[in-house]
């Protein structure tokens, strides 16, 4: 399965390195995902490759200043598939979760921007349900990814990027993270349904990124509605030429 989605939503950006206030506004996002079965554990493990990029434009409470924030996120992970019924399965596994981006405050002087760079090992769970409503085949999915351990770049509390990058003082700017200082998660709810000979996906992404490192608190909360097309990648079909049943497909 391969899906490319485009979406618009709401974003709430907070970074005390830049401002003690939350900035709120629009989020624009694109995601691209593939899922395939692997040969691991007798063919019970699927591989998910998920990429997303977002750009938000947000405003302070007085609406007299703005920030841009962007993040590129790539996840690669494996899930063991528990096939509960022919049409319903639960997936559990882990992801390598790579993130890079920025928050840029249009008014600040020597602290105009905050770089985002962090890598996590995530716990990941998924539920996939193939169901028919009035003879229309639907695929419902819910996924939750939770970073469990990782490393994150952050300047020290009052440290300038000039000191880090021009003078080369990088002591303490890379920190270990876990649930206590980076309570974050991403969850996605989607429904696939046929439109003519194609398959359309509508999705809701709830992306909650938070950190409290070097006494700098940050969050980026995004709620995005996305839409795009899904392409089935499997090539094997049964003797009647029909696709394989959902229970043996990755998705």
């Amino acid at each position: 399965m391969r899906a490319t989605l485009y979406g618009v939503g709401y974003s709430n950006v907070y970074d005390t390195y830049l401002s003690p206030q939350e900035y709120k506004g629009m989020d624009f996002r694109v995601t691209r995902e593939t899922m395939r079965m692997t040969t691991l554990f007798d063919g019970n493990v699927s591989a998910q490759n998920f990429f997303q990029a977002n750009l938000s434009y947000t405003h302070n409470r007085a609406d007299n200043n703005n920030t841009f924030a962007g993040l590129v996120n790539w996840n690669y992970g494996l899930h063991y598939q528990f096939r509960i019924t022919e049409n319903f399965k639960l997936l559990a596994g882990g992801l390598a979760d790579f993130n890079g981006g920025f928050v840029y405050n249009l008014r600040n002087t020597n602290n105009p921007a905050s770089a985002k760079a962090y890598i996590n090992l995530d716990a990941s769970g998924m539920a996939i349900w193939h169901v028919k409503v009035k003879n229309v085949p639907l695929t419902l999915r819910y996924q939750l990814n939770v970073p469990v351990a990782g490393v994150l770049f952050s300047p020290n509390y009052g440290q300038s990027y000039y000191e880090i990058f021009t003078l080369g003082n990088s002591d303490g700017v890379v920190r270990f993270t876990s649930l206590h200082n980076q309570p974050a998660f991403r969850q996605m709810l989607s429904v696939d349904f046929p439109v003519g000979s194609s398959k359309l996906r509508m999705s809701y992404v709830c992306d909650i990124q938070q950190s409290d490192v070097n006494e700098i608190q940050t969050h980026i909360y995004s709620h995005v509605f996305m839409v795009g097309f899904v392409k089935d990648l499997y090539r094997i079909k049964n003797k009647k030429g029909a696709p394989l049943p959902p229970s043996v497909r990755a998705y």
Partner: protein
């Protein structure tokens, strides 16, 4: 997974919200300075008592103008040119660091020395004076000066007996312009100072000092005398430039004490949208002395009224004599 989810949903990291009221904006500003300003201990400021003094001046119905005045007066207690409060109608500032002292600079007289056919390269205006002394006026470190500019200037002045670099009234700008210029006047790597940053909200929470070195440029370097002219309006990145230059053997600083401004300023904001700037990260000289209140010159000279009346710049003339002797 369920347990993780429950923990995560209950772990919000969000803003400490202040009301957009006189009291809320006052508290927000007081807290920003309390937690982030880097000179409270050095300047011996009792910020808690300042809260008490200025909080009494608030009323729930006061106008924005009155609130701006109270907040500006509170910030004045910091005696810091890097501290400002910006509203859409005004900028609260502390400029006594130069307004209370002799100006030691007359733009019309400097223009006489430059003449009308002076050259301009990057942010520098330059010429060769009639006694074969090179004169460079650099009015703002916000105006970039690149290696190409400096190569041209130094080649042009190669015949000179020495160079005057006039940074009077230069209120600062970009630190990288300061080090780019200073790197042309040293043949060796020189320790010029240290920087620290706050590591937490406490008034004395600071990192260990990080040394700052001036590296020699790999391009044309000046090998003759240099005189740097200073006055009280040489501030911030200019203060940093003067601090670097005074450690170099062929350099003499002449004029009045610099204005200081050694805290790298950061920005923040209040609930009503007013922006605030404050010193966040202090720079020190190579002996770990604070240079927030300025650097004394090697040779202290003030502009003489008699000279000024005749169109003569006493400080430039002193520099010319130093180069010629």
């Amino acid at each position: 997974m369920i347990l993780l989810t429950v923990v995560l949903f209950s772990s919000c990291i969000g803003e400490e919200e202040y009301d957009n009221s006189p009291q809320g904006n006052f508290d927000a500003l007081w807290t920003i300075i309390d937690e982030k300003y880097c000179f409270l201990d050095y300047k011996g400021i009792n910020w808690d008592s300042i809260y008490t003094v200025y909080q009494k001046k608030l009323t729930p119905t006061m106008s924005d103008e009155n609130l701006f005045e109270v907040l500006g007066d509170m910030l004045d207690e910091l005696k810091d040119g890097h501290v400002n409060l910006y509203s859409s109608s005004d900028v609260a500032r502390y400029w006594n660091w130069y307004e209370d002292y002799p100006r030691n600079f007359n733009e019309a007289i400097v223009e006489k020395y430059l003449g009308t056919d002076y050259r301009i390269a990057g942010g520098a205006k330059y010429t060769i004076l009639d006694d074969n002394v090179g004169y460079i006026y650099y009015e703002s470190f916000s105006n970039p000066i690149g290696n190409g500019n400096l190569n041209e200037i130094l080649q042009y002045m190669a015949i000179c007996d020495g160079i005057i670099i006039d940074v009077r009234n230069n209120g600062g700008g970009n630190l990288s312009n300061s080090s780019t210029l200073a790197s042309r006047f040293t043949n060796e790597k020189v320790l010029t100072g240290y920087i620290r940053h706050k590591t937490g909200k406490g008034h004395s929470d600071f990192s260990d000092p990080e040394p700052i070195y001036l590296e020699p440029s790999k391009q044309i370097r000046w090998q003759k005398k240099v005189v740097v002219l200073t006055n009280r309006h040489a501030y911030s990145a200019t203060n940093d430039f003067v601090n670097s230059m005074r450690y170099l053997p062929l350099v003499t600083t002449v004029g009045d004490q610099t204005g200081g401004g050694s805290g790298m300023p950061f920005s923040s904001e209040l609930p009503n949208g007013w922006s605030v700037r404050y010193s966040a990260s202090p720079h020190f000289d190579a002996e770990m002395n604070q240079i927030e209140f300025g650097i004394e010159p090697d040779v202290t000279v003030n502009m003489e009224k008699n000279d000024e009346d005749k169109g003569i710049d006493t400080i430039i003339e002193t520099a010319r004599k130093l180069i010629k002797n």
